[in-house]
């Protein structure tokens, strides 16, 4: 029996074993082993990815329902692993140049990734919390990783204090739910709630209060308004590759967890949480669109952009249907590739080995580095949601789902705010193509950056030609979530 459980958690088990072995390796070899630890971590993530994807039969519950492996989990975990591996590759040269290369960095990223996988597969409020804490704790540390840098330590401290607060809210909500439902298992909770619905009773007030606190905690983790305050400061202060990591993998994991919690055990209570999600979704989209206009730092701009994107993804979740979940999955997958590409461009922004973060530094990039300007323009057009790029389809599916569920206000606000948001994305394109060039950036950018840039750019550009793999995979994942 335990053998079956272990087979189901095999990817996580491999990742945990890999992280501890590499930790020992790093401790004994010292910081000069960091490049090899980092490369081995990426290889390990690839192995975990292969094990995860190539064993579609190993689905089911493990450890008495604490851990759930279904099609949804496999799909989201694959995205998380791609995000982690890509950001890990991007960070090597950055830390080498800053001479802040320490072997704990890839190790902590591995542990954070492990926490994300555990979050995605959580089948119980307890495993939800432990996965979330494993992820968050690793992220707090890598946010403050450049400990001699004032802004990095400030980012780490802010993230830690606010993250602890949100964990507290989440735990409070979980305790209320446990108190009023008598169980922490998602399956048992779903059964209890289904009984309440059949009896035609309204859920008890305590339960709703618990649900609200739980949603508040989760909204903090995906940085949805009004729990977004930490995002710009942390994104700006953390080292750039760490920001790239924050903007990709943890967002996807937290969104997957959000989807699993509200659609799984609380699926019968759509009426209770739909209005909350509609409000935070509208607030996130509007704030993401308006607050980014005045930014001059590109990392801050990306923070507001990610707040806005989370708002769009929540539109799909607020619909509360299978089509909505499908939209969220597609949106997050496309968001992942857009962000990896954009942050790869940001990491290439340096002159004489000094990292640049100002938007004005991109002036005239099309003349000094036409390829990078082209790729960045593709990402910006895609983020703005201009067809036929992938970002348009992401928005299309969530808005369609919202309209099917009758949430017209939400869809209209979403479209309007994406028009407003297009302004600051297009401003970057304008700076690159129509302004006088400044000094050019350092060349060459490095082979791995070119691969990531071209790969992500091609994925975004050619999505409309081959949409089937992503759309079918997302549809199967959404169906698996709602069937389970």
């Amino acid at each position: 029996m335990i053998a079956d459980d272990l087979m189901i958690v095999l990817p996580e088990l491999l990742l945990a074993g890999l992280a501890t072995i590499l930790l020992m390796f790093g401790v004994f070899r010292g910081n000069r082993s960091t490049p090899s630890v980092l490369m081995l971590s990426v290889a390990g993530l690839a192995v975990v990815f292969a094990v995860l994807v190539l064993r579609p039969g190993a689905h089911g519950d493990a450890f008495g329902g604490l851990f759930v492996a279904d099609g949804f989990a496999v799909f989201m975990k694959a995205l998380v692993l791609i995000g982690s591996a890509a950001t890990m590759i991007m960070s090597l040269r950055y830390f080498e140049r800053k001479q802040a290369l320490r072997f704990e960095y890839p190790i902590l990223m591995l542990f954070a990734t492990l926490g994300m996988l555990m979050m995605i597969s959580a089948g119980d409020l307890m495993s939800l919390y432990l996965g979330l804490e494993l992820q968050s704790l690793s992220l707090y540390v890598i946010a403050a990783f450049r400990r001699d840098n004032l802004r990095s330590t400030e980012a780490g401290l802010k993230y830690f204090v606010l993250g602890a607060l949100s964990s507290g809210m989440l735990l409070y909500g979980a305790s209320m739910i446990y108190g009023f439902a008598g169980t922490t298992s998602f399956q048992a909770l779903a059964a209890v709630f289904a009984e309440t619905m059949v009896a035609g009773e309204a859920p008890s007030v305590g339960l709703v209060v618990g649900l609200v606190f739980l949603i508040a905690g989760l909204a903090f983790k995906v940085s949805a308004v009004p729990f977004h305050m930490w995002t710009p400061d942390v994104y700006e202060g953390a080292p750039t590759p760490v920001t790239a990591f924050f903007a990709t993998a943890p967002k996807i994991a937290a969104m997957a967890l959000f989807v699993r919690v509200v659609m799984g055990p609380f699926g019968d209570f759509v009426g209770q949480w739909q209005q909350i999600l509609v409000v935070i979704s509208i607030a996130s989209m509007v704030l993401g669109a308006l607050a980014a206009i005045n930014q001059t730092n590109i990392k801050r701009l990306m923070a507001y952009s990610s707040i806005g994107h989370v708002g769009y993804a929540l539109v799909g979740l607020a619909a509360g249907t299978e089509a909505g979940v499908h939209g969220v999955i597609v949106y997050m997958a496309i968001y992942l590739f857009m962000n990896i590409g954009t942050f790869a461009c940001i990491l290439c922004m340096r002159r004489k080995d000094v990292m640049l973060e100002g938007i004005d530094d991109l002036k005239g990039l099309s003349k000094s580095n036409p390829l990078m300007a082209l790729v960045l323009a593709i990402f910006m057009f895609s983020m703005a949601g201009i067809p036929p790029l992938a970002g348009f389809f992401g928005k299309l599916y969530v808005f369609l789902a919202a309209i099917e569920s009758g949430l017209y206000t939400l869809a209209v606000v979403g479209v309007l705010s994406s028009v407003v948001g297009a302004f600051y994305y297009l401003r970057i394109v304008k700076l690159m193509y129509f302004d006088e060039p400044g000094e050019s950036f350092d060349q060459p950018v490095g082979g791995e950056m070119v691969v990531i840039l071209v790969g992500a750019g091609a994925a975004i550009l050619l999505f409309f030609v081959f949409p089937a793999p992503l759309l079918d995979g997302a549809a199967a994942a959404a169906a698996a979530l709602l069937a389970g």
Binding site: D5, V9, L66, E104, L108, S127, L130, E133, R147
Partner: protein
């Protein structure tokens, strides 16, 4: 039965007496030692209730870690006792208020116990019954079988916390002299002692 009652009164009396001494002792080191005595006697009370695991944890965690930490802090700090005594009357009302609030809250807890008798029926029946399985074993059985996933996950979280603390605070300083044990052991006589012939009347 009578032995149990005697043991209870002994432990309870000692706990209260040493708790009073914790705040009454003039020397802070004595206070901490009385605190340790109070912990030991509370552990005895737990054993009488059949909660031997809690008793062990109380001794291991509170005596082993917390009280010793207190002791370190008290001995490290240069505490002027006269100065501390000066504010005693001034802080008395607030201290009393906190005490009264604690007392009222305890009464509320007891009141809930009496007002809703089902609580006792639900929470007062541990599974499995303590007559059959000692509670250390009962805890271990669920912890390492049913909740082994959560147990391991907690272990990983603690590992990450440790790595984080080291990453963020450990610094290698230059100019710190460290003991090199292998260097000391590997030292040979020829490395440090030089034998010179000293001719008469001239010195080395």
């Amino acid at each position: 039965m009578i032995v149990q009652a005697l043991a209870f009164y002994l432990f309870a009396g000692m706990t209260i007496a040493s708790a009073v001494m914790v705040i009454a002792a003039r020397n802070p080191v004595h206070s901490v030692l009385f605190l340790i005595l109070a912990f030991f006697n509370s552990a005895g009370l737990f054993v009488l209730m059949g909660a031997e695991f809690l008793a062990m944890i109380l001794v291991v965690v509170y005596v082993g870690a917390v009280a010793v930490l207190f002791l370190f802090v008290v001995m490290m700090l240069d505490i002027d006792l006269v100065e501390i005594r000066q504010g005693f009357l001034q802080y008395m009302p607030i201290g009393g208020l906190v005490g009264i609030i604690l007392l009222v809250e305890l009464l509320f807890v007891l009141g809930a116990w009496i007002a809703v008798p089902e609580t006792a029926a639900v929470t007062g029946v541990p599974l499995p019954p303590p007559e059959q399985v000692p509670n250390t074993r009962a805890l271990g059985v669920v912890l390492y079988t049913k909740y082994v996933y959560l147990f391991q996950a907690s272990g990983l979280i603690l590992l990450v916390a440790m790595i984080g603390a080291i990453v963020l605070t450990l610094r290698r300083r230059d100019g710190v002299r460290r003991q090199s044990i292998s260097g000391q052991i590997g030292r040979r006589r020829e490395d440090s002692v030089e034998i010179k012939k000293v001719p008469n009347r001239s010195g080395a």
